[in-house]
């Protein structure tokens, strides 16, 4: 066990998989110098420039090259820098990577891990702050992972690299410095397994990524007010742990989904709809308004989902129960 940061956990996960499997390699802009956030620091020195490869500013090529290289026996880790820039490579991800196995009748798999850092971070404004995880959950063929702790980032990134499906792997930029205990020898977590961050019997709060930390804090706030919230961090959005969520829902009698992304057609809608279909309990969502993200801190902060907002909404749900 070691106390390391979320970013360092990601770095070590890549390094470990590169050690174990010579077919793993990384490609993306500025990786030779460690990547724009330092997620690849030292890896080019350790594994060579061929396996930790710089790239031109060519997102479409980065993704397309990874698809071709994955169909022919390598396991690329694709770095998109900001998930917003992955919008320059959507054909490659959605029409090619996600569909190749199916279209070709199973002749090929496309084992790529696409790292797409998401989220609001230091006044980055509309083109560097998006959280579009819901999009990828809608695309057959893709796996979607949104880790929120160093331990999960380590274990899930390793699982993603080992997975034979194309995985959209979304780290949250605001979590880079977050520290936590990581057991580098633990078994990898199965994709699709949620974590119960806090047990409770009064209400279920479902979240993921950085917002899961807010949900945990909301759990604490609520505890002070005598409400025992069960806080579930999905970690993986496709597949997602419906069993766990539905079991918790029947136990607590209510589910609130909280996420940083825009509420309309966010993944919270899928969770809420699924719960509504399968469990007869009230559901609610707390998410961002349908507006781009502004630069100025006041306007940026107001659209952010906070622990306080989550707790407030839970209290309204509890009240409504009468």
């Amino acid at each position: 066990m070691a106390l390391i940061s979320y970013i360092e956990a990601g770095r070590r996960a890549v390094a470990r998989e590169m050690e174990l499997d010579p077919s793993v390699w990384c490609l993306g802009e500025d990786l030779g110098r460690g990547g724009v956030f330092g997620q690849y620091k030292g890896l080019a020195e350790r594994f060579g420039a061929a396996r930790v490869s710089d790239a031109p500013i060519s997102e479409a090529a980065i993704m397309g090259v990874a698809v071709g290289a994955a169909m022919t026996g390598t396991r690329p880790v694709v770095e998109m820098r900001f998930s917003d820039f992955a919008l320059c490579a959507v054909d490659e991800l959605v029409n090619q990577a996600a569909k190749a196995r199916f279209m070709f009748g199973g002749q090929s798999k496309v084992p790529i891990t696409v790292r797409e850092p998401i989220g609001m971070w230091r006044s980055s404004a509309a083109q560097h702050s998006q959280s579009l995880e819901a999009w990828y959950t809608h695309i057959p063929g893709l796996v979607v992972v949104c880790p929120s702790t160093p331990a999960d980032n380590y274990a899930l990134l390793r699982a993603a690299i080992r997975c034979d499906d194309p995985v959209v792997y979304m780290e949250h930029k605001n979590l880079w410095p977050l520290e936590g205990e990581v057991d580098e020898d633990a078994a990898t977590i199965g994709l699709g397994k949620a974590a119960v961050r806090r047990a409770g019997g009064d209400i279920t709060i479902v979240s993921w990524s950085a917002c899961a930390r807010e949900a945990e804090r909301a759990g604490e706030i609520l505890a002070e007010q005598g409400v025992a919230a069960e806080v579930i961090d999905l970690r993986t959005l496709w597949p997602w742990d419906q069993e766990l969520v539905l079991a918790s829902a029947s136990k607590t009698g209510g589910v609130l989904v909280a996420h940083e992304a825009v509420g309309v057609s966010g993944f919270g809608a899928e969770v809420a709809a699924t719960v509504a279909e399968h469990a007869d309990v009230p559901v609610a969502r707390v998410a961002a308004p349908r507006a781009p993200i502004a630069y100025a801190p006041t306007m940026e902060a107001v659209v952010k989902v906070t622990a306080e907002a989550i707790a407030k909404r839970v209290l309204r749900m509890i009240e409504a129960r009468g």
Partner: protein
Amino acid sequence: MSRPNIDRARLRELHQLMHRIRAFEREAIAAALDGRVLGAIHPSIGQEGVAAGVVTNLRRDDRLLSTHRGHGHTLAKGADPRAMMCELFGRVGGSCGGKGGSMHIADFGVGMLGANGVVSANITIAAGAAHAIKLKGDDRIVCCLFGDGAINRGPFLEGLNWAKVFGLPVLFVCEDNDWAATTRTSDMTAGEGAAARAAALGLATVTVDGNDVAAVDEAARQAIAAVRGGGGPMLIHAVTFRHTGHTSVDPGAYRPADEVARRIAEEDPINLCAQLLSLAGVSEEELASDVAEAATEMAQHAAFATEQPYPDPAGAYADVQDVGSPLERAY
């Protein structure tokens, strides 16, 4: 017209292959007309010189990336025409189990990594397959064919730049048939076209008459040797002509009829090849037997495909992904 160094046997092979490609597509078009083939078919009739001349110079373990107009490329790479026909018919036994159809035909067993329904998308994928070869250090190469319309999409720039920057073993082939669907490509293309753009990216380029299969064969042989030898990516610009409409249902009325008629008469790669063979002493009977054999072979495949059942609908849920069932809590 006489030529030095004509390898008669080689040319005869190419003649046979071109006829097989054409016969395959004639069956496919007929089947599309009468409803046995349901999806879109983009015939390459008139362009067989490029498919035959380029692709037969590849090794079986070399990789090929193709386009929406890929039957010829796929056959030339050695794919099983019966499985291909079944695929076009959407039947059991198809190369992709009936999931892809004409636009996604693939046969990984012979290194044919897929036609593609998105123009230009195969270019970066080809660069990726070549990148994998470089990482592994073997001596395969990748061949990537695309149309003249494809050079106006971003992946052309990004893919060629990538291949050159990393010195990858990939041969790009622009199959220039003058048209992109109903639009004359030159109307929408600035500058001198594929070769000039590739040259500006530092690639060595060759322009060749794509209707002269012997010339294509020679150019491809040389280019492939250079690429395999570590010379980095190259581009062949092959000028050709499609005889049919863009798809099997397109009458092609937007093209001047006289121009089409003239080019079919003067530039058909099969005719030109047959003339060369005649001059080289191949008899009319031999040439005719190439036609007949190809026709018979492909008619048999079409008849076979016609008899095959459609796939079990349950296949719609297979080959999606390892993690997360498509039917998990399906509605």
